[in-house]
Symmetry: C2
Subunit: 233 residues, 2 copies
DNA sequence: CGATCTATTGAATTCGATCAAGGAGTGTGG
DNA sequence: CCACACTCCTTGATCGAATTCAATAGATCG
């Protein structure tokens, strides 16, 4: 997944691929709803998600949490985390996950010895940043229905990029509560907005299977333009 | 300003300082409300703000804009911009500014030859990211009054770090419309929320001069904890 | 088969948006 | 120096989107 993703930024040589393969073979599995990294921790290693979905979130004083990113297969958490001595957010699995721990040393070696990979990794952090910017716009100025539509569009493209979309459909393993924590909405309103999207014939959502029935209409509503994701897909 | 900021992350040698001094001596001045970088542009150079305030923002389909960051003296725009071929946001001056243009080549040389500076610059992009995360939480889950209080607290600390705070007071050269675009609020509600902060005796705002009357109360309301800014100040 | 999440629905309330208009300050040109 | 245009700030009134509270119905699971 990581190779596939990075290769969409720059063309990787066989050596590059072999290097990336090596660092992502040794994985451990983690149960759903487990904290991988906790706010305040010292960064231990760079995490690579190879399977499953996790989220980055922050805690509010009042006890709620705000999700600020989703980590899909092929995504790295905190490439440069080694530079600080305190992580400022929590990372929690949503589904069961497999993750590879990449030591800071390994990462530093990789970046030093492998310019193409280094470039691709830097670009992927830029995409992460672009996603966060887009979320900021989304959450601060769009209506509930548009917000959710936007997230659905984004995840559609990101899942597609790692081959997890079939027939306009992907697994969205989030609860409505998770969605609410992502969109800055109440669960009740999240529920009603989802119903609105279904009622308009834009999506179906059965179990955790989300199907986009009308991509162009959904994108229009969400004001979604995928160029910020920098993927050829 | 840049040196002062970077020095708060790592101790810089005299050589480091001299290098940084050299890249920031040649500045040009820009009028208020001018676009420095436009969405869709090819990145030309890294910009360093030496005086004045600029903002990073995105345009909505409906014509409004959403401010996603403020750039204060000492802040760099887009350290890694050279990696992409299309900027995904606009940067506009708020006040008159002085900026230094740093070519990608100069920046690459600096990063290559000067490990301490490279480290400090990487850290400063991490702080930028932390700020964006904090904004995401702010805007998506806090009430209008808390949001504005949070921004005031953040700018207080950031201005203080570059020596622009005297007697609990700094210049906030934003119009209420700018503030509204930042907070995802209407101008009317922004106005009323500011009044609320004044009424509670937390701030005064005369002309563009903002004074924080009760830092600890303001921080409490905003749920503001400055550690994410990673400044000793 | 209870127990515990998760999803859904209804009603009441509130926060913030929108609409509309009036002042206050600034600059410009006659 | 005054009339005007313009931007920014302020206020009132109304409207609407989203929250909150509360209750029920499905799922899921040990």
């Amino acid at each position: 997944m990581l190779i596939r993703k990075l290769n969409s930024f720059v063309s990787l040589s066989n050596v590059d691929r072999k290097m990336l393969d090596r660092i992502s073979t040794e994985t451990r599995s983690i149960a759903p709803r487990m904290e991988l990294v906790r706010e305040g921790d010292k960064p231990a290693s760079v995490l690579l998600i190879t399977e499953g979905i996790a989220c980055r979130h922050k805690h509010r004083a009042c006890g709620t949490r705000q999700i600020i990113a989703f980590l899909l297969p092929g995504d790295l958490c905190d490439l440069d985390a080694a530079l600080v001595d305190r992580i400022d957010h929590t990372i929690t699995t949503v589904t069961a996950c497999r993750v590879a721990d990449i030591t800071h040393q390994t990462m530093a070696d990789l970046l030093g010895s492998n310019p193409a990979v280094a470039l691709a990794l830097r670009m992927s952090t830029l995409v992460d940043r672009a996603i966060t910017h887009e979320w900021l716009v989304n959450v601060s100025s769009r209506s509930a229905v548009k917000r959710i539509a936007h997230l659905i569009c984004e995840l559609f493209v990101r899942f597609k990029a790692v081959g997890l979309v079939t027939h306009q459909s992907y697994m969205l393993p989030l609860t409505q509560t998770d969605l609410a924590h992502t969109m800055g909405l109440s669960t009740v309103h999240t529920n009603r907005s989802l119903q609105e999207l279904r009622r308009r014939g834009l999506i179906t959502l059965k179990g955790k299977q989300l199907t986009v029935l009308d991509v162009s209409k959904l994108r229009a509503i969400a004001e979604f333009d995928p160029t910020y994701l920098y993927l050829k897909a």
